[in-house]
Structure formats: structure tokens, C-alpha cells
């Protein structure tokens, strides 16, 4: 029943998409100034159908309709309702449907929110976007149909991977998808701009909002993913340089570069071709990331049941996208005259872009290189975190210095007159760093330099903020919040990295372990039955031997029944100044439990500053509305 409705809706959606392409194409040729109401209606219908299709699938999950193979493979009657719903996008087929929804909704809102721009530019954007929608709908229908039937209808489902049974599943994928897939609209707009010769300032204004939206959601998606990894994977870190994380970071670098270059295009009407290149590469990188994750070439939590034909389809689609955009770009490319003064805001924004390009290149090489060696020489390798740390971290130092200085540089030509305040800021940053080392514990020169440059950025941005508030001028609050957030993020990650303490050891019930200032006593375990899992809860007392304060931590080992899986739940005590982090796992069903204990200073501030970066972007969205 649901299968028929779903399939009908997908086919209907494909038809509507084709009609939109056809009628927009006709409308391109007529002389009317406005876009006809018919196209608006069609686009609205397309959005409605997509949303309804998605709700049909959600219904399938809620009522546990196991005749649908997707529901059968990823759900179970005993699963709490919340995870039945969020499980809809916790699998390949459902998430692809979510992907299409984002494509369609961005297409519709771009159409209705850009009424002032040139008709042919809007129509061309719509056509190209609908080609993308068509491609993904076809992929959905033929290869990854969430409404495929399984026969005979099974009575029970296989259940959702327990590691995904977490509240974060409800928000992490949708956030990332809005970021990732949202970038499709300026991919289409960039091609349309080349085709219809709609250039410069006006083009920048028309995509500004969309770049900000996708950037904010991409940022939030990455942050939520990191938080999730922090408490779920039980390793205590939040960034692993895992290929899948890299896949979300690569489009983020380009989006960030794009957001900055757009200022130049908007204010100075130059850098047009570069902006186009960035627009095109963002979505291309997003699809590349999807290809890497879904084809099963890489493996991680994000890899669902693999099927090589999926990878092949995405690869085909990706090459089509890349070649046609390169083709259009080269055909329409006109030489621009860049004449920048070396000491101007334009140059500094270009410096930002250079840094982003460097970070992107590093992460891209690290992610793709193992795939090449595997395909070419059947050599299996992986690239460890040290590679990224060695290459990227030193560059973060000058990056933050520029990040502090650039916003106050004037357009066109800047004069050097603020030398003294800068010296004072640098000296105070160095002084603070010396204080930290003196009072706590020394760390490496590189760490010192990173701390100093992050403090430089923080202080400099704070001074900007004070200036802003005093003069009551409408300066760039969104920039201040984001840059301040980035400075704080680097600062707290540095502190967290340098002052974390951790220890792994094996304990039997009733035993104690003394470690630095802490006494960890393993008091007891108790077993509880929950709705769809059994849990072993360990009771640990952590005593701080300095001030004799006590904390109780209760890590768990969960045994899920469907599918039968063990997971371990970290126990975390978060405070403003530090997190206590404890995991336990049983070793091969013996009496020994393997314990990991960590104290991580200022963990919560890492999240807060990362959220601040996104908050700045939010402020820009609402500012650009005016």
C-alpha cells in the first residue's frame, strides 16, 4: 500500500520535474518580463510532492510496515518511536530522499525569493537545478528505492544499528544535508550566471543568502557530529581525521572561501571567475564526499550496506556534473583585470582563500591518496592524524593573525597607522601565554605560538567589538562573533589538548586505581532491562585527592537485541572548567573491565566557541534579509 503510494509519488515528481525543465525552457524564449505563474505553481507542486513522499516513508517507519525493504532492514517494532522516526534518514534510501527534499526546497525558495533579478537567470538556475533533481530522483527510483517491496512480508525488522540510536541522529544528518546539498543552488546559479551573462555585483547579491545558509548549517552539522563522536565513540576525542569527517570538511573550506570572496565581488565587482569556480567546486566536493562514503570505498559509521552500483551511478553523475561545468566555464570565461593594491582588503581576502585552498588540498590528498594506492597497486594504507596535524597546524598560526588584521583593512588601499595598538596586543597575548605556562605546565613551542596567535585574534576582535559598541556604528557584528568564535575554538582546543589527562587500565569489580590526583574506585555493577536492550551499569567513584571532592560516574555496556550488538555508553560529567570522562568495556567475558579515564579541561567551551562561529553566520542571514 505505502509502497504503491510512494512509487507513484516519485514517478509523479519525475514528471513534474521534466515539465518544469520544459516549460522554463519555453519561457526563456518568450518576451515577457515576468516568470509565468504556471512555473511557480509547478515548483510548489514539486516541493509538496517531495515533502509528502518523505512523510509517506516516515509513516512506513512509524507503523513498521515491513513490506518495505528499507523499513525491514533498518527498523524494529520494539524500537522507541523517536528512533523509528529519525531512523527514516539513518539509512541510504531514506537519506537520499531527504537529499532530494533539500534540493527541491532550495530550488523553490530561490525562485520565489529572487524576484528582482533577471528573468532568464532565474529560469536557467531553475532548469539546471531541476536537472540535478531529475538525476537524483532517477537514482532514487532505479537504484535506491525506499519503497521497494520485500516478499514475503517479514514479521519483524532487522533493527537500527544501535550506535545510531541516539538523539543526535535526529539533527546531525538534516543539518549536514542542508549545508551539503544546499550548496547545489549556487552551483546551478553559477552555471546560469555564466550562460545568461548575469554577472558581478547583482550575481553576488542573489546568492549571498544561500551561501550563508548552507555555511551555517554545514558548520552546525560538523559541530553536532563532533559532539556525537565525542560521547558515542568512547575515545575521548572529537575529531579523528576520518575520511568521512574530511568529506564534510572539504566543502566547508570552499564555502568559507566563497563567503569571503563574495564580499569582494559585491563591494568591488571583481573576482567574478574565482567566485564561480568556488560555487561550482562546493557542490562538486559535496557529491564527491557522498560518492566516497556511499560507494563503500571508505568505511566508517556512515557507510550503510554497500552496493557497488550506487557508487558507479554517483560517479557517473559526478563526472557529468564536472565535465559540463568545466565546459560551460571555459566557453564563457572572459579575462578579468585584477589590479589589487597589495595592502588592501581585497588582497587579505585572497590570502584567506589561499589558506583555505591549502587546507583543502591537504585534506583532499590525505583522503584520496589511499584510494589511489589501493586501486593502482593494491597497497592498503591509511593516513594517520599526524599527517594532518603536521601540515595544517603550523599554518593556523599566520592564518589567525591575518584573520585578526584583515577586517580592519580598508578597501582599495590601506594606510599603515595602527602599528602601536598591534604591538600592545601581541605583547599582551605573549604575556598571557607565559602566565598560562607558569601557573600550569609548559608545552611545546608550536602550542605556544598557536595559543599566542589565537589570543591575538581574540583580543583584537574584542577590541573591534568594543569600538563597535562605543561608536554605535552598525559594524559587522556577525563577522566579530564568527572570528571571535574561531579564536576561542583554537584557544580552547589547544588548552584542552595540552592539559588533558588520561589513563587506560584494567580493573576487577571492587578494585581501585590511583592516578595523578585521582582515585578511581570501581564499586559495583548492576544489570537493568530496557525496552530494546539490556544494560550493565558500572558504578565508579572518582575522588579528587587534592580537595577530596567526589563524583559518581556510571558508564554502561549495552546489549541490544535487534540487531544483537554491544555498545558502550560513556559517562561524562560536564562542568564549566572540565569534563570527567569514563568508559568501561568487558574484556572477552572475563572478570576484568577495561577502563578509560580522562579529564578534559574546558571541553564545553570548545563546543560553545564552535557554535559561536555558526551563530555569526546566522546573524549574517538575518542581516542580509534587510
Amino acid at each position: 500500500m505505502l509502497s504503491n503510494i510512494g512509487n507513484t509519488l516519485i514517478i509523479l515528481n519525475i514528471l513534474v520535474t521534466l515539465i518544469i525543465i520544459y516549460s522554463s525552457h519555453l519561457s526563456l524564449k518568450n518576451q515577457e518580463v515576468k516568470i509565468s505563474k504556471k512555473i511557480y505553481d509547478l515548483s510548489l507542486a514539486q516541493s509538496t510532492i517531495s515533502i509528502v513522499t518523505f512523510f509517506v516513508l516516515i509513516t512506513g517507519f512509524i507503523v513498521s510496515d515491513f513490506s518495505l525493504i528499507t523499513v525491514f532492514q533498518n527498523s524494529h517494532i520494539d524500537k522507541p518511536l523517536f528512533y523509528k522516526i529519525s531512523g527514516t534518514w539513518g539509512n541510504h534510501e531514506g537519506s537520499l530522499l531527504l537529499w532530494i527534499n533539500v534540493l527541491v526546497l532550495f530550488s523553490y525558495f530561490f525562485l520565489i525569493l529572487n524576484k528582482k533579478t533577471l528573468k532568464n537567470y532565474r529560469l536557467s538556475t531553475l532548469i539546471i537545478q531541476n536537472f540535478l533533481i531529475f538525476g537524483f530522483l532517477l537514482f532514487l527510483l532505479i537504484n535506491s528505492n525506499p519503497f521497494s517491496l520485500v516478499f514475503p512480508t517479514p514479521n519483524i525488522g532487522l533493527g537500527l544499528n544501535p550506535i545510531l540510536q541516539d538523539p543526535a541522529l535526529a539533527i546531525h544528518p538534516p543539518l549536514l544535508y542542508i549545508g551539503f546539498v544546499g550548496s547545489s543552488i549556487y552551483f546551478s546559479a553559477a552555471l546560469a550566471s555564466l550562460i545568461t551573462d548575469f554577472k558581478g555585483k547583482l550575481f553576488a547579491t542573489s546568492i549571498k543568502l544561500w551561501v550563508s545558509i548552507s555555511w551555517v548549517f554545514q558548520t552546525l552539522g560538523i559541530v553536532v557530529g563532533s559532539i556525537w563522536a565525542y560521547y558515542e565513540l568512547g575515545w575521548g576525542g572529537f575529531w579523528f581525521w576520518d575520511p568521512v569527517e574530511n568529506a564534510s570538511l572539504m566543502p566547508w573550506f570552499v564555502m568559507t572561501a566563497l563567503m569571503h570572496s563574495l564580499f569582494v565581488l559585491e563591494k568591488r565587482n571583481t573576482l567574478y571567475s574565482w567566485v564561480i569556480v568556488l560555487c561550482l567546486s562546493t557542490f562538486t566536493l559535496s557529491v564527491t564526499g557522498t560518492f566516497l562514503v556511499r560507494s563503500g570505498i571508505l568505511n566508517s559509521v556512515h557507510t550503510f550496506a554497500n552496493d557497488p552500483s550506487r557508487g558507479l551511478y554517483i560517479l557517473l553523475f559526478l563526472s557529468l556534473m564536472i565535465f559540463s561545468s568545466i565546459g560551460i566555464f571555459l566557453k564563457k570565461y572572459k579575462k578579468e583585470n585584477y589590479d589589487f593594491n597589495a595592502n588592501s582588503k581585497e588582497t587579505f581576502i585572497l590570502i584567506n582563500n589561499w589558506f583555505m585552498a591549502f587546507f583543502l588540498a591537504t585534506v583532499l590528498i590525505g583522503t584520496v591518496y589511499p584510494i589511489f594506492t589501493e586501486v593502482i597497486g593494491n597497497i592498503k594504507i591509511s593516513v594517520g592524524p599526524p599527517f594532518y596535524n603536521i601540515v595544517i597546524l603550523p599554518l593556523v598560526i599566520p592564518f589567525m593573525i591575518f584573520m585578526a588584521l584583515a577586517p580592519n583593512i580598508k578597501w582599495i588601499k590601506n594606510s599603515l597607522d595602527n602599528f602601536l595598538p598591534l604591538t600592545i596586543i601581541i605583547i599582551s597575548a605573549i604575556f598571557l601565554n607565559v602566565l598560562i605556562i607558569n601557573f600550569f605546565k609548559p608545552y611545546s613551542i608550536q602550542s605556544s605560538l598557536i595559543t599566542i596567535s589565537s589570543l591575538f585574534l581574540i583580543i583584537h576582535t574584542l577590541i573591534d567589538l568594543i569600538k563597535c559598541l562605543k561608536k554605535k556604528v552598525n559594524l559587522d557584528y556577525s563577522r566579530i562573533v564568527s572570528h571571535l568564535g574561531f579564536g576561542l575554538l583554537v584557544f580552547f582546543i589547544g588548552i584542552n589538548h595540552n592539559f588533558s589527562i588520561e589513563n587506560d587500565f584494567n580493573l576487577k569489580i571492587g578494585e581501585k586505581k590511583i592516578f595523578e590526583n585521582y582515585k578511581i574506585s570501581f564499586n559495583s555493577v548492576k544489570i537493568e532491562e530496557q525496552k530494546n536492550y539490556k544494560t550493565i551499569i558500572g558504578l565508579f567513584n572518582i575522588t579528587n585527592l587534592k580537595d577530596l571532592s567526589q563524583e559518581t560516574l556510571k558508564p554502561e555496556i549495552r546489549i541490544y537485541s535487534n540487531p544483537e550488538t554491544l555498545t558502550y555508553e560513556t559517562s561524562i560529567k560536564s562542568k564549566l572548567s572540565y569534563d570527567l570522562y569514563l568508559t568501561m568495556s568487558n574484556i572477552n567475558r572475563s572478570d576484568f573491565y577495561n577502563i578509560k579515564f580522562q579529564k578534559k579541561p574546558f571541553m564545553i567551551w570548545v563546543w560553545i566557541s564552535a557554535m559561536m562561529i555558526a551563530l555569526g553566520g546566522f546573524m549574517r542571514i538575518f542581516k542580509s534579509e534587510h
Binding site: G234, N299, S382, D504, N506, P563, E564, S585, I587, I595
Partner: protein, 142 residues
């Protein structure tokens, strides 16, 4: 004669290209120093080129009855049904680490028979097997 503008451009391009080359060289060199090769016990036993003391990943099955837990470390044997290597590990073991299950250990060889691991890779569910590992085990069982 080159005009001033052209000169400036050549100047700029030279600097740009040299920075680019240095950057790429630097990236690739670091990459090369930080590669982790995936090996099976048989690779290590048969291949004499494998250097001791370089970090690598060792994959195979945990041999039945081989896990020995002490206060600060866990000892076990990784086997690919043809050859085996003793592993010593101190760190946090994932829950799915158990006898007769697939495992990937990251660390260094002390000698051809003894491996010191500093990380055991968590897998995400009971049935999941990393493709690299699956291939090795499948070949040996045949």
C-alpha cells in the same frame, strides 16, 4: 622590452609557483612519513622488507583462548589462519574486541613475532568486517 606590468606579472607568477611547489613537496613528504600500511601476519612473516619500528596496522582474527588480561595490558594473538603474531596492548579495548572476532591493531613491530599496539580499532557492529581484513581472511580460508 618587457613592460612594467608584464614584469610585475612574471614576478608574481614565479613567486606563486615556487610557493605552490614548496607546499606540495612539503605535503607529500609529510604524507609519506605518516602512511600506515595494512599488513597481515603472513605479510610480516614472509616479507623481509617490512621494517621493524615503523607504525602500521595489523589485521586478522583474535586466536581462540589467547587473550590474557593483566593490570596494565592485554596480550593476545592475531592470526590469519596461516601465521600468527603476539600482540601486547595497553589502552582502551573496544567492546567488540573478543576471541574469534576480527581485529585491527595499530602500532609497531618489536620483532617478527611480537607487535606492540597502541590502538585497537573499534568496529561498528558485530557483522561488519573491514573490506581489507575480509579479503585477507577469505583468501586464507580457501
Amino acid at each position: 622590452m618587457l613592460t612594467k606590468k608584464v614584469k610585475k606579472r612574471i614576478y608574481f607568477l614565479t613567486i606563486f609557483l615556487s610557493i605552490l611547489l614548496v607546499a606540495i613537496f612539503f605535503i607529500l613528504k609529510t604524507l609519506n612519513n605518516n602512511l600506515l600500511y595494512f599488513r597481515s601476519p603472513t605479510d610480516i612473516t614472509l616479507n623481509s622488507n617490512i621494517k621493524i619500528d615503523t607504525p602500521m596496522r595489523l589485521g586478522g582474527m583474535v586466536k581462540t583462548g589467547s587473550i590474557l588480561t593483566k593490570k596494565d595490558e592485554i596480550n593476545f594473538i592475531i592470526t590469519d589462519f596461516k601465521n600468527e603474531i603476539i600482540v601486547s596492548f595497553s589502552g582502551s579495548a573496544p567492546n567488540l574486541f573478543a576471541e574469534e572476532k576480527g581485529v585491527i591493531a595499530e602500532g609497531k613491530l618489536r620483532d617478527k613475532k611480537f607487535f606492540i599496539a597502541d590502538r585497537i580499532l573499534a568496529k561498528h557492529d558485530e557483522n561488519y568486517m573491514p573490506p581489507a581484513l575480509k579479503e585477507v581472511l577469505d583468501n586464507n580460508v580457501k
